[in-house]
């Protein structure tokens, strides 16, 4: 594996360098990509990170476990619910608390709704990166429906912090099931439009097919997870391999492909949207009655030890590592965020392509910058 991750960058003083970012429309945030050009061809890509570093891991050391939840929203703000869940599951496992079945079901449904919303926004932005401006409005039109459901249930559209160690903040809204079912019915009709508008377009396929090939070895050695890794044949779905919440109760496929180019990563996310809808449909009618939270002490003190829990966010594997000394504050919290690993494969799969391809490839990796910097 060692030879796979060798990508040595040799800088010359006469390289034609352009800085893509930190303020650039297609880096989706404050990421700076140092591109060395030879005409239109990119010799190497060096990502420079840290423009939105907020020291969240350090902040976690002075927060209680309930407070940490609210910080995790701010990593990958499009998978806020999954990030919350990672910390909650970790704390619950450490305390050996059994959460009610109802909570597990609701969490799983919300995970998948959140994944749908995230993939919709990714689709919007990916189209924009390739110059198809209309995708943005099609995607946001459908995402709005999900965000309305979120707003009704949690009072918040993006950073909901709905999870809490032991369960949920409060019960779901009475309309939640009805509206979610309506949404699935609606979106099953709308998702084929995505293919009509973008996937089947000749120019789009020309732009993405065969570009940015990532082999399985590269995906594994760089730790590329999520849809980007699975498009290269790396079976890394935490939902399937290490089920949590109610994922062991539903029947779903882990979508794998081995082509590994930009178009595969695109198709895989579209296929994941269909699969997410299947998961929600299996659970939405069967939410058991019960409490929305387990009985927890107001001050949570984890027993001395080290705890790790991972979940599958919409971009890959999110891990939370907590060291506790038995106090109400953790000693050290480390987050393994998917985008950090996904970003750094960019030079490996991107160098040698054109500038426009770098935009397409980084778009297909679906980067969210605050998740990289934390």
């Amino acid at each position: 594996m060692k030879e796979v991750i060798q990508d040595i960058i040799i800088r010359n003083s006469d390289d034609y360098i352009i800085n893509m970012g930190p303020q650039h429309p297609s880096t989706h945030g404050v990421l700076r990509l140092e591109l060395s050009l030879q005409g239109e061809k990119v010799k190497y890509v060096v990502p420079h990170i840290g423009y939105i570093h907020r020291g969240i891991e350090k902040m976690c050391e002075r927060d209680t476990y309930q407070q940490i939840i609210h910080l995790t929203d701010r990593f990958d703000y499009l998978s806020a619910h999954m990030n919350n869940e990672a910390v909650c599951l970790n704390v619950e496992n450490a305390l050996e608390v059994e959460v009610p079945e109802r909570v597990k079901y609701i969490r799983t449904i919300l995970d998948e709704l959140n994944r749908l919303a995230s993939h919709q926004l990714w689709w919007c932005a990916f189209g924009m990166d390739l110059g198809a401006l209309t995708t943005f409005f099609y995607g946001l039109r459908d995402r709005e429906v999900i965000l309305d459901i979120f707003e009704e249930s949690f009072g918040s559209r993006l950073l909901h912090s709905f999870n809490t160690p032991g369960g949920l903040m409060h019960d779901i809204h009475p309309n939640f099931q009805k509206r979610t079912k309506e949404f699935i019915k609606y979106f099953r009709k709308k998702l084929p439009e995505y293919d009509q508008l973008l996937s089947n377009n000749v120019i789009f396929q020309m732009r993405t097919k065969g570009i940015g090939y990532m082999s399985k070895e590269v995906a594994i050695s760089y730790g590329v997870t999520g849809p980007s890794g699975r498009a290269s044949g790396f079976s890394c779905d935490v939902r399937k391999n290490h089920p949590y919440s109610a994922y062991d109760k539903v029947d779903f496929k882990e979508i794998l492909d081995t082509t590994g180019d930009t178009f595969t990563r695109y198709k895989l996310r579209i296929a994941e949207m269909w699969e997410s809808m299947n998961i929600i449909e299996q659970l939405i009618d069967n939410i058991p009655e019960g409490d929305y939270t387990a009985k927890m002490k107001p001050i949570i003190k984890l027993p001395v030890g080290e705890y790790y829990q991972r979940v599958e966010t919409s971009r890959g594997e999110m891990g939370v590592f907590i060291i506790s000394d038995g106090n109400k504050f953790p000693v050290r919290v480390k987050f393994r965020t998917p985008n950090f690993a996904n970003l750094f494969v960019l030079n490996k799969i991107g160098s040698g392509n054109k500038i426009a391809d770098i935009v397409a490839i980084s778009g297909s990796l679906d980067l969210v910058i605050p998740d990289i910097d934390r």
């Binding site: 429309p25 297609s26 110059g131 120019i203 020309m206």
Partner: protein, 363 residues
Amino acid sequence: MDFNIYDFTSFTKWVDNALNSSMSPLLAIIIELIIIGLVFLLFYAIVGLLLVYAERKVCAVIQNRYGPNRVGPFGIFQTIADLIKLLMKELINIKHADNFLFNLAPFIVIIASFMAIAALPFAKGLQAIDFNIGIFYLFAVSSLGVIGILLAGWSSNSKYSLIGAIRSGAQVISYELSVGLSLLAIVVFAGTMQLSGIIESQADGWWIIKGHFPALVAFVIFLIASTAETNRGPFDLAEAESELTAGFHTEYSGIKFAFFFLAEYMNMFIVASIAATMFLGGWMPFHIAGWDGMNAIMDYVPPIVWFFGKTIFVILMMMWFKWTFPRLRIDQLLNLEWKYLLPLNLMNIVLVAFIVLMGWYIK
């Protein structure tokens, strides 16, 4: 005075006679030039504003939204508000930029598009100058604009601008071949380069119908190539918002940016009106030889309405392209031209020459 909406010849003659009878011929010519200049300036501004508004409304319809609807009824004053904003914005002087060329570039771009309007035949008798090489002139002037774009990119001293300008240069020079050759097909059909002559030759049917298959091929190639030549999506590589932020006009602000912006829309109008003139008969109403009753009914619609109707049709088509297609990559763009459009075009020209020689087109 004899003003007739169907034929402007007598009206323009009357103006000419009135001026010549009251002053010396030289003064009359100067005054005529000033009048034409002012009319075109006004026309330029109005068409530019309307096109920007139309584009925003059209893309809004395509994208499931309302578009501008706050300033005035249906937002019709939105572009005027935008123009005022652009006029009042600060003109930023960039250090280390070549200031002379930097300031010159927007003017070259806008003058090139301005010159092209002079030869457009808007209606019968409503044409500022009717060259005997009219289409050649249009073709020559419309390609001047790329000099402005190249200068803008070079003098801004910005890497994004430079890449955008070089892309634009490669693109415009390549696609000019296709534009020229596809127009040449119609020139061969019509047997003249004079725009009024080309329109007269379509009196009993437009070339796209009379010239059947090769004219259709030429029309499609012209649409693709002219979209590329005006740097519009899906060929907007020179601006390429997601790659080069704004391409060659990254460093421009205020009214200088507005010049580039306006010139882009005017170029769209110009290529659309060339397409309308060459392929769709310009101001010539829809005629079919022999069907005199229908031809007479068609003649009731004034020529100027026909001209603008056809132009708007082509413009709407170009807007439709822009808002549904993703952008091509530079190598794919050049491949499309050199490997597909150009050989196809050359074969088409030979085919057209053969068809004209044999008289196999609909006469």
